[in-house]
Symmetry: none
């Protein structure tokens, strides 16, 4: 195993050997295996945004096997999805790519404060051969406590059973403005919360240079925390994740042009981000184009 | 076993042999046995709408044995009902027809956001000899999470114990308009959600050509998804159910004239629907008339 | 073991030997070991206020190992933090300093009545080797019952498993004014509530001479309860904590100048407070300065 | 994944995806990864024969880390050992080599009918990150039922949790003569028993041309089952393991000369054995010599 | 914490932080605290041999408090006893000395193959504040499996809950001769077994130069393993305990003269033993004499 992967594992000293082996599996698989960087393919948009919005741009994606194939062929470190999508391929593709079972999910039919429903169990993760559970929290939602209390149980069980824990930390809800959802202070805070609840891998959105909270703004100004470039901001988010001792990866957000994506990835890589988790920008493109893009993304992370 | 049934079972590769055998039982029974199509008799209206509204039009239906007999004589693939109705005949008709124990039910006495009560257990399904559990979710309800979290436990237990899972996915509640409950985007979304939470068989309503969500409308228009005929819409719903790799069947809705029913069935069959689940249109007719209608429905599905 | 520690343990006669040993561990460790006084290092501000506001003033604090080192080098009695911060060092520093796992935590992104989320389990405390669980209640919040009912379960489990219980009792929410949060009647009341729910160690804020409740004011005036100096008020809070038969310690509040801190500590010590729990005033200073300050604080408590 | 590994996984159709992924991990790791052949390093002799008899010939082996290193450096598919030996390295070498936790073990201090003691739990396998549990049965022992009933529980739990099951099937005890322990009829029978109790991987000793049971001899003679060469006998054992649809590997037995070992391996490979599990012949040699030998063994299996 | 203690803890890399902290507590307490050596006071003879045989020589020992006092005043690392003895003092002496709850015990009223009864629970250890559980196995007994299977459950639970595991490994029963119980091959084997079942601390008897097993004798002779002095033999036992990466301590055996004891201790210390566990030789002497002896023993270990 590479020295870098060994170093990363050393940050998780209280985890049992099973969880360390699961983390190692994520870090050692695919084109970025051994580099300490990760590019993960997540496909929960069918659940979160609906099937047509997710898959009509590239109808091959209606078929759950497509995403396994895409993740495998592109050499991603892992493939993350809700129960149904994993069930539809986990046996056929057993052993081909590490899996992350997304244990809670939201849909966009309901209104109200954001709070994902728990739709899977740690036992499901074991029977499907997943290496990690995934869980979304919405800091800023007035349903925050519900989510945090659900994950505390799932996390303990997952860790006892040798699985890793990946947390999507997306500020949202009554406590934050729309612009604030990606504000640098809020994203850094969201990363910190995920780390404090015991996440091994943290997923946040690329932060903007907006500052949402007055109390935070004073500190950013007084201490002169650099936030003008994306690299600056990513560096601050990584620092906010236990001084870089937790794996922090960044989502790609809505589908956009290739150059815009690569520009963003360069910022993330330069700022010391551990990688990317790219859903719509991958599976909504034709497969060969998606693989080409993912390889370019991987190369940027690799060479950072 | 027919090639088509084998093919259908192959979609459920992570399920254990017990669940596959249960699914096979549903697929191989009755007049449609082996065709890969299903016509199921569901009788939960006594619970959902009250006895007089359900059974006064054909008072034979007050007697729980009547529905077993109807399902058996008509050659349905399965009979689905709440605990009490199954308990009242499961021994007498043991082995005569596959059973689906409807594990949650609503009544129309209470007001408020729709959320069915869990009224049975997986253990009940086993002791009654059911081949599957049934469960209703109401995407769009603000009680969504409650239902999704109930079914995640029931599904895991059912699958461990070799049962199949049938999900009624009926959008309803604060998040959707009345018209939106059968909107094509919403019905396709509801089917996707059921598939993502691990349903083997998905039951939705025949979709209208209304589009409920603005974000969805943009995609339907941009991608030119055909939705003008019922067959088009059913095709889209089937595609939205893991590209046709989950069994999707369609309910008949309120009692109506025979020709209207058959017209609808023709659309469902043409669009690739896997069958029908017909309650009121069956048991509210005199038995012989009901059987005749069911046979015509089956024939349409068979010949599609 | 010192006579004073034995005396303190004698106040907790119904606790099992395991909990007494855990309490003894807190009381016997560090520079104040054996004196019956405690200075605890708490670092939950990353969770409660966000990373930049907490750690930018002394960026070494972004690294979770820093706080273990600070607590150990300063000779604190214990180090208290949420799950993530303890997980990031508990193995590396196993046995070096008693730990308190903070089992619930709030963040300042959400709005609404204050109510911390439960983010850890008693089992986590055991696997991390913590000597105590920590829990925050907000008397005055309309979410009071939620918190009190969560802690009743956690307390019972912790006591069965030989752990001690430390309660942060911070009046806050719809029931108290901003000024009332540190009013002498309210702080004394908060201490009493913590004692009544079974806390072994109670943490409150240094009380002001404001009186919040009219009903209380009448009694304070009629009975001539002295509250003019901080020492008076601390004495009253200690008395309100089962006549001094529960350990009550005082938080330091926001970062401030050294002399202001020491002046406050002198008042606490003179009034019979059992010690201090000092977060921001410790970890936001450079380490050597923080240790020097903590030593001065310890000396004041020791010599009181 | 190679076609051959996919083919092998297809034999285990009722196993869940987790177990298939664990099996795939064994089959895909090391120098033989992807070939469908396995060479496993087992080190339970410290427990079974005592430390000096096991490790004095190569004292480096007293240190549990040595065997991890040997397995990793030689490129074995997996390393199998009892609880203590795995605990002593599973965290340090997490992710470096698939592990098999040997769940029962015998020592040679006790007398009486052979019956290993269960010395670990399936939960231990999970927390140590093992891919499989290992278990020894002694067909022929009058304690047979005890062992078979212990493994039925462990197997069910392991399979539910996504682990593979490796069974050491060693005829021994009152029911078989010393010579009969490796008789071809007995070894073939032992393999069949292991397959029938649900083993994914079966480990037996290389069979001799002795026939132990009269009833069996008649059939072997009447049907003209070829057993004169080791390759013949291995072919028969493989056939006896569900016609080759279960993985059967062969142990090396007591330490011996290199040419004798390689000769035996050639017979196993020619007969279609799936590989070898070589303990004493590996770890009792100096490391470089052991690696050289293991590579030669792997090459024979690879080229068979 | 001393470098040596940190080094020792590093051998237990798969243990959780709680267990490491418990081990650290044993290693850091008393006169030998921090040296990596241990002298433990065990008093289970009241249970094992009866009260008069145990306590009549020094009747103060009938009182359970006496042994707490002896362990504390002598500065032992820990005090080990069955449930009743610990219950009779754990609250009064809470925090004064690390405790080891002996979870199984034998009495000398029954005859037959030796097999201790489990007389306490891991939960008892937690409520009494013990740092470790203690357990006796009798390798060589035909009841071996019963004991090994009891401890596999207790060990898993203890480790999950942050406790250490101390195993008394005393060969005894039908499989070994009386002389063989302390034979060098048998004692080394007993230490290996204890290590393999997951013990953190192993207690064996000082080995004689007798060799019990023929198969072992050949190896000892062939490999020239030195066993002529006690130091040689202790060195071999330590090596047999994972090459010195498990803590092995030696019991004192029946009461004897001081010089004989010290002579033996010198051999143990010279051979690299980690310390002593001395019962009858301590508590059957008058207290001051016992303390003086224990101090001399500690000094020998300290200066080794």
């Amino acid at each position: 195993m590479s020295k870098r992967v060994k170093e990363i594992l050393s940050w998780y000293g209280t985890d049992n050997a099973g969880t360390l082996a699961s983390l190692a599996r994520l870090l050692n698989h695919g084109r970025l295996g051994g580099t300490g960087k990760l590019v993960i393919l997540p496909v929960d948009q069918g659940f979160e945004h609906g099937p047509a919005r997710s898959f009509a741009p590239n109808p091959a994606g209606y078929d759950p096997r497509y995403h396994f194939e895409l993740g495998i062929e592109a050499g991603c470190n892992a493939y993350a999805a809700p129960l149904g999508f994993l069930e539809a391929g986990a046996a056929e593709f057993a052993g081909d790519i590490p899996l992350i079972l997304k244990l809670n999910n939201s849909d966009s039919l309901s209104k109200g404060e954001p709070c994902s429903a728990v739709t899977g169990n740690v036992e499901d993760a074991l029977r499907l051969g997943a290496s990690a559970i995934g869980f979304t929290i919405y800091p800023g939602s007035s349903e925050r406590n519900t989510m945090l209390e659900e994950i505390r149980e799932l996390t303990l069980e997952a860790k006892n059973k040798g699985l890793a824990v990946v947390v999507w930390s997306y500020p949202r809800g009554a406590g934050v403005s729309k612009e604030g959802e990606t504000a640098i202070d809020v994203v850094a805070y969201a990363a910190q919360i995920a780390a404090q609840i015991g996440a091994h891998v943290i997923k946040v959105k690329p932060p903007s240079d907006h500052i949402e909270q007055d109390a935070a703004r004073k500190v950013y100004e007084k201490e002169g925390i650099p936030i003008s470039t994306l690299a600056d901001r990513v560096r601050h988010v990584v620092q906010s994740s236990f001084n870089g001792r937790r794996i922090v990866i960044f989502s790609g957000g809505p589908a956009k042009g290739k150059e815009a994506i690569l520009e963003e990835i360069r910022g993330i890589a330069e700022g010391g981000g551990f990688g990317s988790i790219m859903g719509r920008n991958s599976f909504q493109r034709p497969k060969s184009e998606a693989i080409e893009l993912l390889h370019e993304v991987m190369d940027i992370h690799k060479n950072a």
